[in-house]
Symmetry: D4
């Protein structure tokens, strides 16, 4: 996992229309300087291509696969059944508030887990991928740590700002 | 669709444990004298076999595919993405009362419908298959009609029995 | 099922207001060159007309009935109880995200299946009807196949476009 | 509504198997001395009989119709669409805790209300029928009042018993 | 129930803000020429007034009480516990799509039914009240019948319009 | 709040049948030596008594009211609308897994909060009452603290036991 | 609890973006003249700060802690596990209509109650805090009482206005 | 990640009572020869210990943390907020079919993902951990592959058995 080659993440979308919902993943991966590629692959409309991608993913240097899909979201499951790489599923809120996609993604049968994140939780999917890659990459681990600190710092600043301006009766 | 060859139904189960939940389908198919075969095929544990089955189903003479699965039920979806035959999905109540299987089965994306029946509705899946086959088979159509009449007759008898014995104050 | 006469689909709506939600079905049926007719028939406001339609549907040459309704969607059930033709139900998202219509459509009792598609899944209802009709119509089967190929092709093109433009760090 | 003739309630069940779930209605109707009859009538398996019953119900002297059904419970809706009498629906907990039957019963479209009571709430359905009949029957009104008093009395006695025996530290 | 005095309906709202959601009830009651009055009464903010209203409702000539409320909708229950008149509950969709109001209204305990109609189903609540009042008022019964016919006529016209203009390939 | 008089909690149940579900509250109150009384009071079957209790609760020395009820659980709301004391609601799992009771208890309108605890969370209701009372009672505060320590100690012991016996490959 | 020092409420938010959803709490606390402070504290992004706050809250004079958070809302739980003060949880409707936040807030395990109010029920959270504080503060109790009276008065005025203008046929 | 030291998994339970629900994880980890330890750590009853564990987990050689909890399941979230290691969450079906635990586990806010598996999906949690560890351990990767093959083989055998014995009419 030490070679840059292997530290790659694939972000796979069921449809081009879902791209805006997944931008958070791209931002996080770029911030953390993690090489990735993105593809449109449909569990049903391009099932063959999805399987081909999953089966070659490991040897092409991917370490983690992220799949985003809505409704009866099967894409993550297809990848999970055809690759040994950890698969992260992002349920999208295309209908029923995303409850259908959540259940279709997370309720996988014995033997084929999908690491499911929150509905529309693209940024977290990327972070989870980063945390997995960081197990073999101390520099990345350090970058995630720094990102967390910055986030905590922002919360502290927001707290100060908020405490001052919104607390009415001091 | 007139040859016996083509009038065959496939009943596919995600797991051997689900067999008791699907018995209703076998009973109906036998009652209506519809040739069928049953297989254990898992969307994830034997994805390759499931795809192979789907792709050859038409030329092997199957006309309708019935798939029963629980939780994140993807089996019907796999078949639908790899065959032009009508696919009927039976969501099984393995968890959450079957709500997860229902949504995973019915909420299919554009282009790949699954004809979903009730949770644990195996008998209805077989009847739906029969109604589809009956479009090209008048004898079968007649048998379904007779079955319906018998059912209505039973309801009428139950009504009489019930009306007499349960109605207290006549 | 070979005569044009018989290859007809009926698309039935509970209310004129639902027409926009069902347009996807018309588009697909036209694309696939399947003769169809559309009617406003309400399970409750015009129950008699709905039953009359269902009972004459087969002899008038219809092969598949599609019913779209929201809330306590009973239209598909009415048709299913009065015709032997396969009935496809489209639950519409008029309230509760369509969960009420989905359950009212799919949870049919033993003996009277409704082939339920996704909430607001009008296009898929039409495709399911097409797949059923295609069992006895090789030309239609070919047209569906071509449509699928075109769809897969579009996904492949979308993938290329997306892979190039959205993948940031190549 | 003053003649005994008219003060009749019909309790209609979708299936003989549901009889135990509806016993509470019989008990209440007998306690309140309200003439009633009970029938097995299925929205789908005996749709014709159900419609015939609904259409003649008023002239046969029924004033209120109670319908109990589970899953995609359409029986109350069928009656409501074919009779002007108030229709009370009891959703039965045959699946999904009765949520499917509740939504199929209560979410009726404009023009055709079903007075829905609690899931498995047979006793309350009978009471609601009684309260409706009592609008034109002072004696019945008095009997309901007495029943309520007895009930409140029982709660008061239960309170005393409970307060004494379960309150530990007095 | 024959005197005009007694044929009155009360439409009670938990809050002035809910008035637009309940307009359908006013329209129906006016169309059917049923005398009614409307009040803002809160189960919690004016519990005393609500109880006072319920306890005097019968002697003030009301025959049916309609209560509309959202969220943890208790208003119908308050009225039901303090009056023998039939109480109709309209769950309003103030949050969770109205699921909270539906369950708070319909799941009443033994002894105190609330006749629940659809979420935001104000028009149906008024119609249900009308059907109850019509048990003792043949003229009203006739007016409801006429209204139904007009509605069926409208559906038939909509069907014609739709069938002509939306059916593409005739 | 310092006098024993005032430190009293009332535990109110909608029905005697619910007593076993509420035992956890009695145990906690006894462990923490908090004087309490228990009553059967129904929001609907004994609405008057419930209101009388609520209105006198403060002057009778109660400081916190706990109400447990299932289905369309209105008891806590009744108390909240008639007393200024904090009211704690325990939703009971009588139907739908307790979801109906939870929503009926927690979704209170503006002005009348009910402090809702988990479904069947009787012990926690008692603890919440204790924490409220402890604001004016340092000894009670100390007892709660000790109870927490004992609980943490038990978890630590369970951990040791578990870690030794269940961890297989050390 | 008599000193002003102790009568303080803390309103804690998981994120600055949630501030508008919580304004109702500030308004109520100001109306009732209850000293309070507000902070941004995240259960996860600033877990340490949240714990530090909870552990010092009692000695810094806080009597009640209010925590508002959406999605997998853990903030109230963090505070409850680290302080003996009563913790009030406001589930925010950031996704799934707030159902996720409601369940994450209310379904606390034995030993650590969170007093949960309605989804987005900020005003009620403040009122609940006020009712708790009022147990030891008669003046506050009086102010809450006055506020309630004013509210009831407003309902009465709304009723008059509504009754006059919206009741059509008087 | 190559040293045995680092390849360790921690399986953490909120309560000793949950042990039977998590056995599937132990079985899988033993089958795949992955060193692991198991602990009882409660998000609330032993929050300090949970945090201490999380903060030292990386340096003690853990690579993946698995947390199983029911109801308002916060344990995985606590670990995620205090460690950079990937955290896998198993929602347990203690109430509401596990829907509360699922939402409390999966709907994590931005910055702190929890890799959620199916309700009661302990075996899959272990497999997901294994797949993550296998990124840096070819032998483990091979063992997972073999396990999958064995599983597919079992499905094939079940299929044969089932096809022979359950297919009635060959």
């Amino acid at each position: 996992m030490q070679t840059t080659q292997k530290n790659r993440v694939a972000v796979l979308l069921g449809s081009e229309h879902d791209a805006p919902l997944v931008e958070g993943a791209f931002t996080v991966l770029q911030e953390l300087d993690i090489p990735f590629e993105a593809h449109i692959l449909s569990a049903h409309r391009s099932n063959e291509a999805a399987i081909r991608f999953a089966e070659k993913a490991a040897e092409e240097g991917y370490a983690v696969l992220i799949a985003a899909a809505g409704k009866a979201a099967h894409l993550a499951g297809v990848l999970a059944s055809r690759s040994l790489l950890p698969v992260i599923g992002i349920p999208l809120s295309a209908s029923l508030g995303g409850m259908d996609a959540l259940l279709s993604t997370v309720q996988m049968p014995n033997g084929y887990p999908v690491a499911t994140v929150a509905i529309d939780g693209a940024a977290n999917a990327a972070l989870l991928a980063a945390q997995i890659l960081a197990l073999g990459d101390e520099n990345l681990s350090f970058r995630i740590q720094e990102r967390r600190k910055a986030m905590a710092e922002k919360v502290a600043q927001a707290d100060e700002r908020f405490h001052r301006s919104f607390t009415p009766n001091r």
